[in-house]
Structure formats: structure tokens, C-alpha cells
């Protein structure tokens, strides 16, 4: 789940991010947030940790990170043809650069960085309280992105991807299928140590990539 660091919203509003119910961004008709099911098991997360720290013992804890999920469709028009792409199939899981497809974009609810997901987010609906709880505790600096900025980041990402594939002169139309919806993305926080080092590593719950949060040397060589 590698995010696109270049797509940070230009400036925050300074306001807190809206709830998934939409109470800060319009009428409260927004769909409830989804809690994604991890693709990576506890054992696999532990294996990632033990590859970095051979012979270690560790504890694994699930942590959830809030994202905004938005779905966009991209259509292109040729110079002479009115519409190059036919109607969309509503159930298509389109993630490739081919125009006329749906693209799922996830935007980090803290940092505002986004990425085009290569999967259709699926999970269980969670209550507003759980979403709000996930959104609250953050030591991330700076303002959180507003829904307008989330949409802008998503459109920018999709446009960049489509532009790489279209011929000169083609028109591009982007449509947001639905307003941004809250997503709780699972990660594994693994903390442990071997004889020499103690470390905490965050393992992505969807693709098992990792980030070293902390590492300390326990003994000198």
C-alpha cells in the first residue's frame, strides 16, 4: 500500500476532519465507515519482524488507521469521436490506467497522501463511535484534510494515471461515483527483541510491507 507522497493536499483548512457520518461536511447521509479485513495474518506479520530481527520474540497488536475511500471513473474522448468509451459496468473493479474504468482511491485521513488501490475495499461496517475513536488520537502534525481536499487529491491521482496513457488531444472526464467514505485500514504493530536489539515495526495489514518505528541496541559489540 505505497502512498503517493507527491499528492499532499496543498493546504489544510485547519479544521478537524469530518466524521464518516458527514456531520462536518453536509447532510448526514454518508455511508458508515468500513473496517477492512487484514490480508496478512499474525504469523506472517511476526515472520516479517523475525526476518529483520532473527531469533527474536515479539508481540503483535492490530492497529487501525483511518483512510478516506473515494471511487472515481475516468473517461476519455478522442479528438474526432464524441465518446471513446462506452458506458461503465457498475460492478467493474477498475484499477488500471485504461480509461472508462472505476478507480478506488484511498487517502490517508491524517496526512492527506493518497494512493490508487489495486483492490476493492471490503469489510464490515462500523459505528460512528469507532470511526471517531480511530480518527481522534493522532500525533501527526498539521491539519487533517477536508473532504474537498480528499476529493481533489483523488482526482489528481487518477488524472495523473490516465494522462500517462492517453493520446495527445484526448479529453478526460473524471466523475466521483460516491462521496468519500471512511475506511479503517488494518496494520500490525509488532514489538519484540532478540539478544542484541529491541524494536517496534509496523507491518501493513494488506500487503505486509513494513516500517521500522523504533530500534534500540541492547548490548555493545
Amino acid at each position: 500500500m505505497r502512498e503517493h507522497p507527491e499528492n499532499v493536499p496543498g493546504g489544510g483548512t485547519g479544521q478537524p476532519a469530518p466524521s464518516a457520518r458527514g456531520d462536518a461536511d453536509g447532510p448526514g447521509t454518508r455511508e458508515p465507515a468500513l473496517r477492512l479485513t487484514p490480508n496478512i495474518t499474525v504469523a506472517e506479520a511476526l515472520a516479517v519482524f523475525q526476518r529483520k530481527l532473527p531469533g527474536s520474540h515479539a508481540e503483535v497488536r492490530e492497529v487501525l488507521h483511518p483512510f478516506w475511500w473515494t471511487v472515481l471513473t475516468a473517461r476519455t474522448r478522442g479528438i474526432f469521436s464524441r465518446s471513446r468509451n462506452g458506458p461503465l459496468s457498475s460492478g467493474a473493479v477498475g484499477v488500471g490506467p485504461v480509461s472508462g474504468q472505476r478507480m478506488n482511491v484511498l487517502v490517508n485521513a491524517y496526512s492527506g497522501k493518497g494512493f490508487i488501490a489495486d483492490f476493492e475495499p471490503r469489510g464490515t461496517a462500523v459505528g460512528a463511535a469507532e470511526w471517531d475513536a480511530a480518527l481522534e488520537p493522532s500525533d501527526q502534525a498539521g491539519p487533517r484534510p477536508s473532504l474537498f481536499e480528499v476529493s481533489r487529491t483523488a482526482r489528481s491521482l487518477v488524472r495523473t494515471k490516465v494522462v500517462k496513457t492517453v493520446k495527445l488531444g484526448m479529453g478526460i472526464t473524471l466523475d466521483e461515483v460516491a462521496p468519500p467514505r471512511g475506511i479503517l485500514k488494518p496494520n500490525w504493530l509488532v514489538t519484540g527483541a532478540n539478544e542484541k536489539f529491541s524494536a517496534t515495526i509496523l507491518v501493513d495489514g494488506l500487503d505486509s510491507s513494513h516500517y521500522i518505528v523504533r530500534v534500540e541496541k541492547l548490548i555493545r559489540d
Binding site: 497522501k113 500487503d207 513494513h210 516500517y211
Partner: protein, 512 residues
């Protein structure tokens, strides 16, 4: 300033311009500086590989060989033509994938990650940096001589200019600068060489007429057996010429680093087609020009100047300028790759590994740049004195590189049982046997090339010692897993990657 000099000035400015351009786009961290951010496509990969493999030898040595031995010289061309595609096919995809899984930034570091022991790097790095340094020095000398010949500038100043330009763009942009300038230089080399070939064939009345004229000088020159005919042929030399030139490249760290910088492992397949196309067009040309030089310039004092003298005779002045730029391109594209590789090995494989382990990316890049500068200064001081033995040392040092590293690089990607003791034995045996074979005069006694002996010894050492030490030194599980993943086609699973996903930094919980 004559027309040829103007072409060279434009050429130097263009190369320096690429260095400045790449400064802006690609060296933000070590991976960017040392591997161009692993962003190179097939054309740049292939042409960079070929131009850095082929030094000024193709314009000086190849012509000389053909001038003295006729079509016998094409044995060397055959090895050369196959070298690029062999290297990309055997090592390309696998080395790209394995190096990313293991998180390697340099070709020596790659060896240590594949054979996990500090002794691997402690042995490989000094051997490589020593051999490469002498090789790059010879390119400095060739560059200085070339400039002197065209511009009339005294050798010391010509050398300073050549070294300065090379260092300038290597210093600025790192691997990306070297890769893109090598790419441009490969094209210049190709244009220059094909132009000379066409001009030469026109001058002799076509290939058939030229061959007829060469046949009148000595019919044996038209055969693949040399001027003295098949009775005097040395099969050991022929086999050596084909094999050594074709497989030797696989042991050169500065050439192999091209594999690690590819955008994707699959780039290797397309790149091998580009490399073959380039080789088929480029490599036979200097040999054919060298043979035809027998008709155009029958009494040449120095056969090494055959290609250049023919160009001077058959081409208009402005074309000579372009051809000279091509010769300088061949020299400089090899020199910059070597220089960067020397700096990389010294900074990453020696300084950071053994002296300052907590060096930041920024410090590492600056140490690499500083090393490049120091090596260039030492190279200049030695080259300006032009010691006569340098050329021999260069040939010898490339031989040692091949003998020491070909089996360990090939086995690293292909043989799951190759382990640390096997790799150490292979490098030590390859280095020692080729050095001893050369220094004790066994080459003259046996007629067998030291590289052949070295490769046989290092291969046997790798196989026998690895098999004998499987129980005491098994290949680590994570390396075996990486090799199994390398067997597969497709993207690398995230959990196999050694490098961390920095984007996850924004998902670290407050209470972590």
C-alpha cells in the same frame, strides 16, 4: 580552433549538461545516486551496458588486431557480440530481482547479501577497486592522447580536460548521469563507427572489391585462421577469444550494476534485444575497417591508429570531428562507469561497512563523490607521467576481475547451494591463480590465457567447497527464500523486500 575541436567542445558541453540535468532529477538519496532510483528502461540499460563494456579498445585495439591478423580478429568480435545478450539473459532479470529483495545498492554489497559474511565484502571490494582503478587510469590516458591528437593541445592539458569533464558529470549526477551520458555516447559511438565503415567501403569500391584486394596481399587474411593459415592456428587462443570476451563481462562489477538499476526485472528481456541490435551494428565495423585499412593505408606505422587514420582519409573534416567524439565517447563512457563504481565501492563497501556504519544517505553520497575526486586526482597524476606498463596492467586487471567474479555472480543468481565458503574460495582462487599464472610466465609456456585458468579454478573452488561445506555453512533460509522468489516471474511480494515502506510512517499509531 579546427572543426574537429569544435565538435569535441560541443560534445563535452552536452555531456556536462546531462550531468547538471540529472543533478536535479535523481540523486536525492543513495539509491538515487548509486542506482538512478532503479528507474532505467530497456534502451538506456542496454546501451549503457554496451558502451561501458566497450572502451577505447573498440576504436584502437580492434582496428589494430584486424590490421595485423585479418578476419581472424572476428573471433574476438563474435565473443563481443554475444557478450551483452549473454550477460542480460543470464544475470539481468535475476540480479535485478534478487538485489531488490536483498536490499543491495552496489554490486559488491549484493555479493555480501547473497553470501552473508563480512569477509565476502572484505575480499571482493579491494580486489574490485584495485582492478577498476587501473582500468580507469588507462581510459584517462587514452582520452588524453585522443584529445592531444585532435586538438594539438599538450598531453598534460588534454588529459586534464578529459579527466575534468568525466569527473564533472560523474560528480554531479551519480549513476543517472553516467547512465544517460553512456546512452547518448553509445549512439554517438554507433553513428561514428557506421559512418567510418560506409566511407571505408565506398573508398575501396565495395566489400567484395576490398576483399579481393586484401586477398592479393595475403589470401590467409581472408580466412578465420590468421595470416599464417590453419596450420599455425592456436585453438586455445580462439576458444579464449570467444569465451573470455563473451562471459568475462559477467564478472565486471561496473557492468553488472546496470542490472540492478533496471526499472523492472522484465526490462532485461527487451534490453537484450537492444544490446544485440547495437552489437550487430557496431562491433564488426572496427574490425572490417581495420582489414580494409590494409588497402587504404598499407604502410601504417602504428596499427592502433588504423581506424582513426582511415577516418581521417576517407571522411570530410566535420565527419572526422563526429568520429573523434565517438572515440572519446567510447573512452569516457567506460571511464565514468569505472570511476563511479570505484567511488561506490570505496564509500559503501569499505567506508560505510567497516568504518562508519551509521552514515546517512547524504553523507554516503558525499563520500562517494569525494572518493571519485580523489581517485581522479591520483589517476591524473599517474597518467600524466604515462608509465609504459599501465596498458599491460589494465589488461591484466580486467582479467583478474573476470576470473575472480564471474562464477560468484552467476552462482549467486542460479545456484541455491552456493554458500559463503564456496564464494570466498572462488574469489581467492580466481584472483590468485590468474595473478600467479601471469607473473610466473606460465602464459608463454603453456599458451593458455590466465583468465581461462582463473575461471576454471574459481568455478571448481565454488562448486567443490560449497558442496563440501553445506552442513557446516548452510545457505540462510531468507536467501533460499529470496532465490526461490527469483525463480518466479512477476512482481516481488512486499514481505520479501528488505527496504521499508516509508509511506507507512504516516500510519504509525500514537501509542507505538
Amino acid at each position: 580552433m579546427n572543426l574537429e575541436t569544435w565538435f569535441l567542445v560541443i560534445y563535452f558541453i552536452a555531456m556536462a549538461g546531462i550531468g547538471v540535468w540529472t543533478l536535479k532529477i535523481g540523486n536525492k538519496d543513495s539509491e538515487g545516486y548509486l542506482l538512478g532510483g532503479r528507474s532505467l528502461g530497456p534502451a538506456v540499460t542496454a546501451l549503457r551496458l554496451q558502451s561501458s563494456s566497450m572502451s577505447g579498445y573498440m576504436f584502437l585495439g580492434a582496428g589494430s588486431l584486424a590490421y595485423t591478423k585479418g578476419y581472424f580478429s572476428l573471433w574476438y568480435a563474435m565473443g563481443d557480440i554475444g557478450g551483452g545478450v549473454l550477460n542480460l539473459s543470464i544475470l539481468g532479470r535475476r540480479m535485478r530481482k534478487l538485489s531488490q529483495i536483498l536490499g543491495s545498492l552496489t554490486s559488491i554489497e549484493y555479493l555480501e547479501h547473497r553470501y552473508p559474511s563480512k569477509w565476502i565484502r572484505a575480499i571482493a571490494a579491494p580486489v574490485a577497486v584495485f582492478c577498476i582503478f587501473f582500468y580507469v587510469m588507462s581510459q584517462f590516458i587514452a582520452g588524453g592522447r585522443g584529445l592531444e591528437m585532435v586538438t594539438g593541445v599538450p598531453y598534460a592539458w588534454a588529459l586534464l580536460i578529459a579527466v575534468g569533464v568525466i569527473v564533472f558529470y560523474t560528480f554531479l549526477g551519480g549513476y543517472l548521469a553516467v547512465a544517460y551520458t553512456d546512452f547518448v555516447q553509445a549512439i554517438i559511438m554507433l553513428i561514428g563507427m557506421v559512418w567510418i565503415l560506409i566511407g571505408t567501403l565506398q573508398a575501396v569500391g565495395g566489400w567484395t572489391a576490398g576483399n579481393n584486394a586484401v586477398g592479393e596481399i595475403n589470401p590467409n587474411l581472408l580466412t578465420m585462421w590468421g595470416p599464417d593459415g590453419i596450420d599455425s592456428v592456436q585453438w586455445g587462443v580462439i576458444i579464449g577469444a570467444v569465451l573470455v570476451f563473451s562471459i568475462g563481462y559477467m564478472g565486471w562489477p561496473h557492468v553488472n550494476v546496470s542490472h540492478m538499476a533496471m526499472k523492472r526485472p522484465s526490462v532485461a528481456r527487451t534490453a537484450s534485444m537492444y544490446a544485440t541490435g547495437f552489437n550487430l551494428l557496431f562491433i564488426p565495423a572496427p574490425y572490417i575497417v581495420g582489414i580494409m585499412a590494409l588497402i587504404i593505408l598499407p604502410n601504417l606505422d602504428n596499427p592502433e591508429l588504423a581506424v582513426f587514420q582511415v577516418a581521417d582519409t576517407v571522411l570530410p573534416n566535420f565527419a572526422v570531428g563526429i568520429v573523434m567524439a565517438g572515440i572519446m565517447a567510447a573512452i569516457m563512457s567506460t571511464a565514468d562507469a569505472l570511476l563511479l563504481q570505484s567511488g561506490t565501492i570505496a564509500s559503501q563497501d569499505l567506508f560505510q561497512r567497516f568504518i562508519k556504519k551509521d552514515m546517512s544517505d547524504s553523507q554516503s553520497v558525499w563520500v562517494s563523490r569525494f572518493t571519485v575526486l580523489i581517485l581522479a586526482i591520483i589517476g591524473y597524476i599517474v597518467a600524466v607521467n604515462d608509465p609504459p606498463a599501465v596498458a599491460e596492467v589494465v589488461i591484466f586487471s580486467t582479467t583478474v576481475l573476470g576470473a575472480a567474479f564471474v562464477p560468484v555472480y552467476v552462482a549467486a543468481a542460479w545456484w541455491k547451494k552456493a554458500n559463503v565458503p564456496g564464494a570466498i574460495s572462488s574469489m581467492v582462487l580466481g584472483t590468485v591463480s590468474s595473478v600467479v599464472w601471469q607473473l610466473t610466465g606460465l602464459v608463454d609456456v603453456t599458451g593458455v590465457d590466465p583468465m581461462g585458468v582463473g575461471i576454471v579454478c574459481s568455478t571448481l573452488g565454488l562448486i567443490l567447497v560449497s558442496l563440501a561445506s553445506q552442513k557446516s555453512h548452510p545457505v540462510p533460509a531468507h536467501v533460499v527464500a529470496a532465490l526461490k522468489e527469483t525463480d518466479k516471474i512477476g512482481a516481488i511480494p512486499a514481505h520479501m523486500l528488505t527496504g521499508q515502506n516509508d509511506a507507512l510512517a504516516a500510519q504509525v499509531p500514537k501509542d507505538a
